[in-house]
């Protein structure tokens, strides 16, 4: 850990018996985890369940927690493993492949008029739709990097893969997203 990790300090305080530190961690991380898990699962209720699971594991780790990585990296690793397990369940797979195709313009072209056509909300709907169709690990790598702000090193730790593999996953994810969106234009 390079910069001071406030979350790790909170976790250590919780390990020492400070229940308020656990509440603080929940307050800081419930929303980012919910955002990440909603994108992974495309299911708000399922994402809420997994947020609970993540914090149950955090709570259960209070006897053995060692701040070897950033707290956020550890948290996202738990969340990712839970999400990937959930996505492997057959019922989830069916739900995931039955998403409706959103309507609307895709990415704006390069011309000046195209910027006017761009509707941010519809673009977001399209991006979210295509994001959901990406392979799970590509989706996880892109979300963690581009949205949640983890470095490639941290994403590598969260996904338990190499840094070069993360670079490749993120590149392929972005490329696939853009090409699919442009194809529909």
């Amino acid at each position: 850990m390079n910069a001071p990790d406030q979350d790790a300090a909170l976790m250590l305080a919780f390990c020492a018996g400070d229940g308020a530190a656990f509440d603080a961690l929940f307050g800081r991380w419930a929303a980012p985890l919910l955002r990440y898990l909603e994108r992974m699962l495309r299911d708000a209720a399922g994402a809420e369940e997994l947020v609970q699971e993540v914090f149950l594991r955090v709570h259960g780790a209070r006897q053995r927690y060692q701040p070897q990585a950033r707290f956020s990296t550890w948290l996202y690793r738990i969340a990712t493993n839970l999400a990937l397990n959930e996505l492997r369940r057959p019922r989830r797979r069916e739900l995931h492949t039955s998403l409706d195709e959103p309507e609307g313009p895709m990415l704006a072209g390069e011309g000046p008029a195209a910027e006017d056509v761009l509707d941010a909300r519809r673009l977001l709907a399209r991006v979210e739709h295509e994001l959901a169709r990406l392979p799970e690990r590509q989706r996880a790598a892109l979300c963690l990097s581009a949205v949640e702000g983890l470095s490639y090193v941290e994403v590598a730790e969260a996904l338990e893969i190499s840094e070069s593999a993360v670079k490749s996953l993120v590149h392929r994810a972005r490329t696939a997203l853009v090409e699919r969106i442009e194809d529909v234009e």
């Binding site: 919910l34 490639y152 670079k167 853009v178």
Partner: protein, 180 residues
């Protein structure tokens, strides 16, 4: 300046890493120089950035107030489960009394099993029916076991308790059958 015709492929994979600020300063400078000279890569970089911006501008989800309460309920449930699965203290009191009752129940059950086996061995074998664990069990000879050791042997829960109950039911069935 980069050769645009042959350089795009070389730079394509690094456009994404440039957005993520994951290139060395030297490599980032090379990629920027290429992008400045290449309309195609400039357009691609702008598109990639637009996708990222769309994702980042998405409204943050609102954490339902009930989520914390549901988590607390599950933590409480886990704590209760943890407490109830912990074995009680071994010495003295009610535990001793339970041992005595269990020893009596087990002795009765063993007698029942012995009686049952005596009855079933007179009947022809039924090859189509697989023998149940109870049917192949041998009767216990409790007469030679000191009471204290019997008590220690019964210092067990759940599975053994169920066996005692099952044997008692078996005894009732055998006795009913014998009476008829």
């Amino acid at each position: 300046m980069s050769d645009v015709a042959t350089g795009c492929h070389e730079f394509a994979a690094d456009l994404s890493a440039l957005l993520d600020d994951e290139l060395t300063s030297e490599r980032a400078a090379e990629v920027r120089a290429h992008v400045a000279a290449c309309d195609g890569c400039r357009g691609r970089l702008a598109t990639l950035a637009r996708v990222d911006a769309a994702l980042s501008r998405a409204p943050a989800p609102v954490v339902p107030a009930s989520l914390r309460a549901r988590l607390e309920a599950r933590l409480e449930s886990a704590r209760e489960s943890d407490t109830s699965s912990r074995p009680p203290a071994r010495a003295g009191g009610p535990r001793r009394a339970w041992r005595g009752r269990a020893a009596g129940a087990l002795a009765a059950a063993a007698a029942g099993v012995a009686l049952y086996l005596a009855v079933t061995t007179r009947e022809p074998a039924r090859p189509e029916a697989a023998p149940s664990p109870v049917q192949v069990a041998r009767p216990l000879d409790l007469g030679s076991v000191p009471e204290d050791e019997l008590g220690l042997a019964l210092e067990i829960e759940t599975v053994e308790d169920l066996d005692v109950i099952a044997n008692l039911e078996l005894l009732e069935l055998v006795l009913a059958s014998d009476a008829s």
